[in-house]
Amino acid sequence: MRRRAMGLWTTRYAPQSLKEICGNKGQVDKLQQWLHDWSDSSKCGFKKPGRDAMNVCRAVMITGPPGIGKTTSAHLCAKLEGFAPIELDASDACKWDEHQQPVVRWMDGWVETMRQTQQESESPIRRVSSWTKSTACPLVTGGVGALNAFIKTKIPVICIANDRGAQKLKPLIANTFGMTFRRPEAQAVRSRIMTIAYKEKMKIPANVVDQLISGSQSEIRQVLNMLSTWRLSSSSMDFHEAKNLAKINEKYTILTPFDVTYKILGPYAFGPNVRETLGDKMELYFHDHSFVPFLIQIKHTENYLKTQPVKVRNLEGLPKMLKQLELMDQAASSISDADLVDALIHGTTLVIDAIACGVFDGGGYGGQNPMTFPRWLGQNSKQNKLSRQLGDVQVRMRLKVSGDKHEIRQSYIHALFPHIVKPLIDRGAAAVDDVIERMDGYYLSREDWDTVVELGVDTQKDDVVNKLIKPTTKTSYNSTDHPIPFHKARDLRKVPKKLLGGPAPDLEDVFDLDDEVVDVSDDEKKKVKDEDEVAADKLFQTSKPKTQSRKGKTTTVKGKKAQNFM
């Protein structure tokens, strides 16, 4: 159906013949051929591959960037082959639901209607269903599954999508012949655009058209839209206007942080032949402004030492060493600078941030570097975990000890080692009771013992230590009980109290305290507490018979201790 609609040039000038399609000639031909052969292929059950090896597939999947002619080609080919295409796209998804059944039924019903119409009329009218789906389509997986099932029906299906690699499309890939449409070359697009411009009585020289095309990356739809808008105000365009127009209409493709990192730290990112300006490189940063600097920082710092700087390649011996150290020094200190900038102005002046992190890091010490996964992340999470565990140890020991977390780590852990770890190494299972006694003195539990071992470095490193302890010792240690000074709140299922954030007070030094100090009535408070506590308090469970410990003494000690600290 040819529609000479009012506004849109994209519809007005939609290609009516294969000649008018810009680019992807080969693919379009193949598509047409496939459609042509479709009924024959279906008669022999899609067994014979045919000329382009396409005929084993019932359906075709066309993928590629937007605006280059995928849907247009599909419609055109279908029409040329005598089909009346039906198009379904993401907006129709609302008619569908997660369950396959209604979907297939709907399609089947429609198919039935078609078949009836076909029988009624004489000419073979075949339907092609063209299904446009973009990766942003919120269709649930059920929809794709339904489509998959649908493909097995008796009509040719052409699926259109943007991103072949999308997760959603995986089930479809197996059933369809994948066809990738590329961005057409500038020449292919140029003549068509010139023709259209002429028809619209616009004066646009060829190089200007080229500028528009390259600015929109050969997206024909975009070019037509730009021109039609421009046409409203002027009938000619010069080079600079074209460039600006293209820039304004530029679309941002989102690169992943890893792509960006590769672009910035890639081997020739700062070489002499690079065309991207500093500004362009900075733009890369904004693709993901929280993660990119982080990734660059980490990857670069971890990798900069593994490369050989260009500047020392010609030196030898001691001068080389000195120069290399100098450069390393510069690089390391600019990394230090970058971290400082990142910490101090993150979130406010992102532009400068971008320069500091991306350029300093990527700039001075360029070279080939293999991308290894950042080590910092792993070490950081390890540190956080151990720090939390250390905090737990410190809390337990607080009843007896005065130090803060660092003092515990630096002095106490080392001092406890010969009393609670070494005996297990030297004397094995015989030492378990002594060790337990020692640990009881500080209310340390089994997890704390693990923490003490995990925190060791050098000769007290955990893998060294664990190797030295015999497994039998470990098991006998594990089977004995420890007293508990207190239960963690999370174990008791206590209700956490919400901290009211509130707006930050806009006075430097002052925070309000409520003027009234209201006294909660005694009884009320107590009552609520009692009910809650007894019900939720784990410590009040009817005690199961405790596991037989080696010394009866341990059990009673535990009981007594537990009383004091509730």
Binding site: P505, D506, D509, V510, D519, D522, K525
Partner: protein, 372 residues
């Protein structure tokens, strides 16, 4: 859990303090503007307003402890008398909430009220009691810009019935529109004569013996801030009277209370760095670690200072005074030292490790003084 059980509400109001434990700063605050010492110009002007009872909006600025708040409070008392004082004067200082919401609610509603008719004074004296109220904003420079902005309009709108008095340390922190609505009064730092006479007066009123050295140490350590000196005096007397029999107060006590590093320690440190200190020219008094020279000597001395627990910024500040005011060090060396002090101050403000920076400053001074 017993700790948190509520008992019967006590009637004790939170502002009630036993007079015996009242801070001397409050107790000996001047009651009339004539009592305020050493601000001649300002007092003269204000005395006139007492007579004419036409008060402008005022901005008092100057270093801390020079009498700004005392002056305005004394003035207010003299204008309104003790009975009307409560409902005619609103005072907010840095310890009160003064965010923009408070400005909009509390201050505005107070400013709006028409002043109540003056009651006859209970003590018989006739007070001028002019037909307006006074709002005192103490430590106004710590109010945010927004809060200050909100004040402008209030000041204008209710100028007929409310006068504002802003008290601050740095007049530059008051926004321009606000400052332009007020008459500025500058409070100069107190000279030592008036300070020492005031301190002696308080000491005798409280029956404490203080020697002249103690008074001069008080003045030195407080840096021209009379409030601080009085507070130190009170702490010192509290400490000394807590033992039985009371121990006399020594200058050393004052230094401890003030958190000041003893001069002997600073001089010793300076000597190790190669800066000769004029006072102790004793030939026999050799530094104890004469064997160690250069780096090791400085390092050991720094560790010693850190072990004593002295604050690094305090140490450096005093060392700075010793060196910069040194009579015989060449200017070039002083300049180099000054650079080191500045960097260290910045680093310490940023929270850097104290020992490293005291060592750094020490080494740089040592280098500046021994080389060049």
């Amino acid at each position: 859990m017993a700790f948190f059980q509520a008992k019967s509400t006590s009637a004790a109001s939170k502002h009630f303090v036993d007079p015996a434990h009242q801070p001397w700063v409050e107790k000996y605050r001047p009651k009339t503007i004539d009592d305020v010492s050493a601000q001649e110009h300002t007092i003269a002007v204000l005395r006139k307003t007492l007579v004419s009872t036409n008060l402008p909006h005022m901005l008092f600025y100057g270093p801390p402890g020079t009498g700004k708040t005392s002056t305005i409070l004394a003035l207010a008392r003299q204008l309104f008398g003790p009975d009307n004082f409560r409902n005619r004067v609103l005072e907010l200082n840095a310890s009160d909430e003064r965010g923009i919401s408070i400005v909009r609610e509390k201050i505005k509603s107070f400013a709006r009220q028409t002043p109540r008719a003056q009651a006859v004074a209970s003590d018989g004296t006739v007070y001028p009691c002019p037909p307006y109220k006074i709002i005192i904003l103490d430590e106004a420079d710590s109010m945010t810009q927004d809060a200050q902005g909100a004040l402008r309009r209030i000041m204008e709108t209710y100028a007929r019935i409310t006068r504002f008095c802003l008290v601050c340390n740095y007049v530059t922190r008051i926004i321009e529109p606000l400052a332009s609505r007020c008459s500025k009064f500058r409070f100069t730092p107190l000279d030592s004569t008036s300070t020492s006479s005031r301190l002696s007066h308080i000491a005798s009123a409280e029956h404490i013996d203080v020697s002249p050295e103690v008074i001069s140490t008080l003045i030195e350590t407080s840096g021209g801030d009379l409030r601080r000196s009085i507070t130190y005096l009170q702490s010192a007397s509290r400490l000394s009277s807590s033992t039985n029999p009371p121990v006399p107060i020594t200058p050393h006590d004052i230094q401890e209370i003030a958190g000041v590093v003893p001069t002997a320690v600073i001089n010793d440190f300076a000597k190790t760095l190669g800066v000769s200190v004029v006072e102790d020219m004793d030939v026999d008094d050799l530094p104890t670690n004469w064997k160690l020279k250069g780096f090791n000597a400085v390092q050991k001395k720094v560790k010693g200072i850190m072990r004593e627990g002295y604050s690094a910024s305090q140490t450096l500040s005093q060392l700075h005074d010793t060196i910069i005011l040194h009579p015989t060090l060449p200017a070039r060396q002083k300049a180099k030292c000054a650079l080191a002090f500045a960097e260290a101050d910045k680093a310490l403000c940023d929270g850097a490790d104290e020992e490293l920076w005291v060592l750094e400053v020490g080494l740089r001074i040592h280098k500046a003084v021994t080389t060049s």
